[in-house]
Subunit: 218 residues, 2 copies
DNA sequence: TATATTTGTTAGATTAATCTAACTATTTAT
DNA sequence: ATAAATAGTTAGATTAATCTAACAAATATA
């Protein structure tokens, strides 16, 4: 059994290694806001538990076992977010903080029931995939809105940032998952876009926002 | 903010002091399965935080503040049990373990929402009263079935023990809250009873079981 | 390549929560 | 009323998770 603290390290490693599979001590330290020596010693401990491949001065990598355990924590987190939105009518901007705590509950039956009540969802309210019961996660190929071209018609399918402030901003613009967006023009130097969607004929989205919106091309 | 550990001491004190308002270090130690010296030192700490009246060799008493904070934890526990039974269709024998963990979640909105979805319940699935938002709990005057007389017609309104085994036993006998029970005879020397209820014309209940069933006289 | 910067590790201290062993106070029973 | 039993406390050790200070390795830069 892993401690709550260990679970948080595993989860952070899982999330950070999404790109290249490797994470530096420094990166992990910054992400968790925990000083590097503390991270080093935890990595040694997780190394002994065969959850992380640890060697001095080498980048960190989760083992297969580590990836599985981390995936299961993230599964609990995302199922919880979905449950809060779908069954308890929370807004998608409210659920991260609560799920951050509930993901550490030890009760297979509890999450099994959530999954069942939700109809075995594949994505959470922010469009992130929910790992399966073995901790495995299908990786998805959504594009960033910022990588699209003028004239593209796309479907908003996810966000790369679940901070309350960002999601509240999207709420004010009626930007929710599933809507169709048409790109009317792109401002080269700052990456901002002029788009239309729903009842909004013309909206300006900053480069930062476009970077954070994940879309599927039709 | 109290730690999870502190919360568990507060809750235990609250539950144990239901009778006389005072608890011995020994009692608390046994209940929590934590050695007495550890309990003593935690009591000093809670004393400094003004949650407990602590004096060497004197019985322990929660302060007003301590009683409020403990009541709020128990509120979260009981709301959770109710939510698990009513909204997630768990059995009443399954919910204690899960609620034991969820009671430590810090999120007023989460429990507020539960309360609302449940229609502001006053009792949990085992018939225990749910403290209000200020941590105050109405004390209730249910009698034990074992204190009733032959011929009494009573309503089963609560249980004093929420262990899975006991509740599963009640399930097998179709004994659930709300049913009407008629006492047909009492065995003096062991306190066991012959009763009838629902479709069961004659059932034998041991003295131990009768001690644990709370009823309201008509 | 030599130096400076950044990254990572070691050593040692701190805090919370726990324990055991030894001692003291209170309560119970003869 | 004294001895025995029970309850409570003190002292000191342990473990997990954190920190700072000092040092070492790796990387970037001049």
């Amino acid at each position: 059994m892993n401690s709550l603290t260990e679970e948080n390290y595993l989860k952070a490693l899982f999330n950070l290694s999404q790109e290249n599979g490797e994470v530096s001590v420094n990166e992990l330290s910054k992400h968790l806001q925990i000083k590097m020596p503390t991270v080093t010693s935890m990595m040694k401990k997780l190394g002994e538990k065969k959850l992380v491949h640890y060697e001095s001065y080498k980048p960190l990598k989760l083992t297969e076992k580590g990836r599985r355990e981390a995936g299961l924590i993230i599964r609990k987190h995302r199922l919880t977010e979905m449950f809060l939105v779908e069954q308890m009518s929370f807004g998608w901007e409210q659920v991260h903080e609560i799920a951050e705590q509930i993901e550490h509950i030890h009760s297979p039956e509890f999450f099994e029931k959530m999954d069942e009540l939700l109809g075995y969802p594949k994505f959470d309210p922010h469009g992130s995939p929910i790992p399966d019961k073995t901790g495995k996660m299908e990786w998805i190929h959504f594009s960033k809105l910022s990588d699209c071209k003028v004239g593209d018609n796309v479907k908003l399918s996810g966000v790369t940032n679940s901070s309350g402030d960002f999601l509240k901003f999207l709420n004010t613009r009626e930007l929710k998952l599933g809507i169709k967006i048409k790109i009317k023009s792109i401002e080269k130097f700052d990456g901002s876009m002029e788009v239309s969607y729903g009842k909004r004929a013309s909206e300006h989205l900053s480069g930062l926002v476009c970077e954070r919106l994940l879309v599927e091309k039709e």
